[in-house]
Every structure is written in C-alpha cells, then in structure tokens.
Amino acid sequence: MSPDLVRDILIATVPLMVIFPTLFAFTTWLERKALARIQNRIGPNKVGVPLTRYGGRFSLFGLGQPLADGIKMLFKENIVPRDADRLFHLLAPILALIPAMLVLCFLPIEFPWTESLLPVQAFLLDGAVIFFFAITGLNTLAIFMAGWASRNKYSLLGGMRAIAQMVSYEIPLVLSAVVVVMMVGSLNAAEIANAQAGWNWFVFTPWGLAAFVIFFIASLAETNRSPFDLPEAESEIIAGYFTEYSGFKFALFFLGEYIAMFAISGLAVTLFLGGGAGPGIATLPWLSAMWFIAKIFALIAVMIWLRGTLPRLRVDQLMGFAWKFLLPLSILNILVAGFAHFIPQENIVSKVAVWVVSLGILYMAAKGLNQLNRPNVRPRDYKYAE
C-alpha cells in the first residue's frame, strides 16, 4: 500500500469518526433538553465543566452531561447473563455500530480537507446509494444477534420485532429513493446532490415532497425512533433487544442508533434537501458541510419532536402501515413522478396544475388506503345520564 493512499484514506475517514460521535454526544444533550422542555421540565443543567471543581459553577446549560454520561457508562459493570451466548453478546453492539459508521462514508459531505482526495471518497462510487441501503440493512442482524444472544424472552421479542420492522420498512424507503434516482439518472450520491444545486431541491417538487414524507416516515422505522420504537418498547418489552446490556456495550448500541439516525437523515438530505446546497456556498465553499450538518440536525429535531408527542403503534399495525399504506403510496408516487416529468412545466399555470394534480392524486390515494385499512376508527359520541 502506498503511503499516499493510506494518508488519503485516513484523511477521508478519521474526521467522520471524530465528528459524528461528537455530534452524537451533543445530540443526546439536545434530545434530553428538548424532550424536557416539551414535557415542561428543565432537563440536564448541572454538569458544566466535568472533571473540574467548577463543574457546577459554570453549568453551560448542562453541556457537560454527555461527557459525564460517557464516563459513567465506561465504568459501569459489564453484566452478561449466565446463559447468554457470550461471543454474540459481545459482537452484537460492535456489529450495530459498524454499518452505521460505514454508511457515513456514502454521504456527500464536502469537508474543506477532502478536496484533494477525491479518488478515495466512497460517495463517488457509482452505486453509492444502493450500497447505503445494503449496508444499513446489516443493522438488523446486530439487533437480532443481541436479542438472541441475551437469552431473554423480552430481548428475543424485541429482536424479532426489529427484524420484521426493518425489513418491511426498507422497501418503502428504497422505493421513495427510487424516484430521485430515476430523475437524476444516477446512483452516485455526489451527482444526486449536485443535481439539486441552488434551490432546485427535490423536496420542492410534488413527487419529491411525497417521496420525502414517505422516506422520512420509513427512516423513523429504520432507526427505531418513536412512533416506531417497537423493538425497544419500554412499556411492553422492557428495553427490547438491549434489556440485558449494560455499561459500555449499551453505550455502543446507543451510539450506533444515533449514528444510524445521522446517516439516514444525511441520506434524506442528499436525496431531497439538496445536500450541501444553501446560501453562501459560492463564496465560502466550506459552508457546504455546515449546511449539510445543519439540515441533518433539522431532521433530527423533528424526530425528537415526534418522540415527544406520539405513542407507538402496535406490531400488526406497524406492518400493515408499511405494506398496506406506504408501499402502495410509494409505488404510486413513482408513477406520478413519471407523469410529472413528461408534462412541460414552462409557465406558472402548468406548474401549479402539476402540483395540484399530483398531490391531489397522492392525497386521495392515501385517504382511500386509510379508509381501507382502518374503516371503523374514528372518534365516537357519548351519552350522558342525568
């Protein structure tokens, strides 16, 4: 291996492995803080500068909390159940983290130091998007591994739920991404992002908007976020697949989950929200990476908001929602996108017409599917006895 290649690979990958775990720490703080405020609590506000005696004095809005949590996690006892499969119990959290970290390479984030090393950038791979989906799917195995190796019935239920859920939701996820791939004519992540330069984001098209909504919903399910957090449904199956995990292994799961959130939000940004496009990147190219991460955080904020609002679905409803609602809609969306593509959209009238007709078709279809799936579910009237 030539030293240059090694250097380039290190420059390309090490920053990702530093930046995203750091952002993970910040996100845990953000999530705790935001959820607390949604629930009218204060949230972490004590730990300021950890490892110093000024910890409480300069609390910095509790920003030291993630570091303190990390230290706590590191020093906690590693408990493995007596009957557990020790090898798989150890491998599962590692395997949960690896694919999540791996797919970060496929996000076309243009850090200022990456310009010189274009040949080793994975997002320039011709099939970057399909690799993304392929590798994200590995997460499922890690979760099943954890659930099975723990020898705990709740873990096993969680693991089985995770498999069923993630396999099902991968399909609408991919099908909604197909629309974009179809329009750009490439699976190359960088090309997809470049096609949306300026304000030509795909989310500003009718089919793009619908695909984005479907993609976002499916990505919630892929990353086990509320309201699709059934594999770790605390009120039903304790903590699901990581019931038997403690200490650093648990932290690895946690890290993997958040990195997966970043990755899938990053893909949503690439596909629908214009990648690194944003005001000011013509003059300051490094702003592009900032915009990219800002957009990721916007999506994560919505995820946190949803988590603070919604209860979770039941397992059969979850599968029904994927197969009977999202899947037909995303297939219909491909057709709609095809038609919208061939209708000339020169003047404002035809543009508006395409918008209205496309969204109208999709909305009516959604309505109809909803009617088919849940025919009798509606608020009821009640009587009063005097």
Binding site: N40, G308, T309, N370
Partner: protein, 233 residues
C-alpha cells in the same frame, strides 16, 4: 372528512406550544430547582434549605408551612426538660396505629414552670421508619405536647438505630413550631389560651363557688352555733 394525520399534527402543535411555553410561562414549568449553587439567590420554594455546606442538615424544613412529616415533642420557652409539656400519659402510645411510639414514665414527679408537679417521659422514642405520619397522636394528646414536624432530611447511614428518634431529638421549642407551622401554631396557642382561660375561669368559679359554699356553710354553722347557743342559753 378530516385531514389525514390531522390529529397527529394537532398533537404536535400542542407539544410545540408547551416547548416554547416552558421558556416563557413560569406556570408551565413545575419542576423546582432544589439543589442550587452556593451564592445564588434561593428559589422561592426552597424554605430553609441549607445554603452552605456544613450547615446543620437536621434543621431543614420542607417547602410548605402546611406540610407534616413526623411527630415532635413540644416544650415551652426555657430549658427543654423543664418546660416539656408531655406528662407521659401514654395515650398516644396506645392510639398510634403502627405502634411506633415507646414511652417510659418517670418514677417521680417533676416540678415545672409554675404548674403542679407531674410525671415526665423518662424515655420517649419514635421509630420514624415505622411512623406513617397519620397525626393521630397529635389529635389524641390532651396536653398539646406532641405536634408534627416538617423536617425531612432524616436519611442516615445507620440502618438499625438511625431512624429511631430519642426524646432529646424530638424535643423542639414552641418557637420552632411557630416558625415551621405559623398558622397552625397560632391557632393552637389561641385555643390553649382559651382553654386555659376557660379552665382558670372555671377554677375561679369553682373556687368562688367553694368559697361561697364554705362561707354559706360557715354562716350556716355560725347560725347553727348561734342557734345552739341560743338554745343552750
């Protein structure tokens, strides 16, 4: 036909309003910041929480003057044991539902502030790990000697004797009582004063009556004597 997903959007609007509201509307934010930093001003609800480390934790009290926690023994102003109100009548021991009070009566009576000599509790223990704060001892006490404290920092590392409060731990002055439960203490003092006044009035009346009776008797006797004397004469 309602909007698809409209219920979810409405819910999200509510949580968003609460999110924003928690920064502006103090009424929404119910959590109180008890453990604050030295030097900051105390939160409104903090009561007498120790401001500095090392201050006596045992004298902390809770957030509201109405709250009750565990019983304490009252003494009036002056030396604690000299002015203790308890006379070791053991009614509270008998009535306590979880039976967490243990009293040993003194063998001899003790003089106390102007009143006549009374027994006093040689031992008065309350096991606060058993006590359920029901306040029945307070209700049945005829001497207003036992009332509820509101001190809550009772945790201890000694699991066997640490929560067994002895007589001297339980003795608190009436002034302390006024400090933690001002309204209740004032009402109790008023009632005691009234009762005392009534008692004294009654006593006075009784004394008056006795005196009158005695006088009458004396008079009658005198008269009788007179009569007798007259008779004999």
């Amino acid at each position: 036909m309602s909007l698809l997903g409209g219920g979810i959007l409405k819910g999200m609007a509510v949580t968003l309003r609460n999110f924003v509201g928690s920064y502006f509307d103090r009424d929404r934010l119910t959590t109180n910041d008890y453990a604050w930093r030295a030097g900051d001003s105390l939160p409104q609800h903090a009561g007498e929480y120790p401001k500095e480390e090392g201050e006596q934790l045992r004298d902390t009290t809770t957030v509201s003057q109405y709250s009750r926690n565990f019983p304490m023994l009252l003494h009036d102003e002056g030396e604690a044991m000299d002015t203790i109100r308890c006379v070791a009548c053991q009614i509270c021991e008998r009535e306590c539902p979880p039976q967490c009070i243990y009293i040993e009566k003194s063998t001899e009576k003790m003089e106390r502030g102007g009143n006549k000599a009374q027994f006093y509790p040689a031992k008065f223990d309350i096991d606060v790990s058993v006590c359920m704060s029901c306040q029945i001892c307070v209700e049945v006490c005829p001497f207003d000697a036992i009332v509820m404290n509101s001190q809550f920092e009772l945790s201890t590392s000694n699991r066997f004797g640490g929560l067994l409060l002895r007589r001297d731990d339980l003795l608190k002055s009436n002034g302390y009582y006024h400090k933690i439960h001002p309204e209740e203490a004032a009402a109790r003092d008023r009632r005691m004063a009234e009762e005392k006044a009534a008692k004294e009035a009654k006593k006075k009346a009784a004394a008056e009556a006795a005196r009158k009776k005695a006088e009458e008797k004396a008079k009658a006797e005198a008269e009788a004597d007179d009569k007798k004397q007259e008779d004999t004469q």
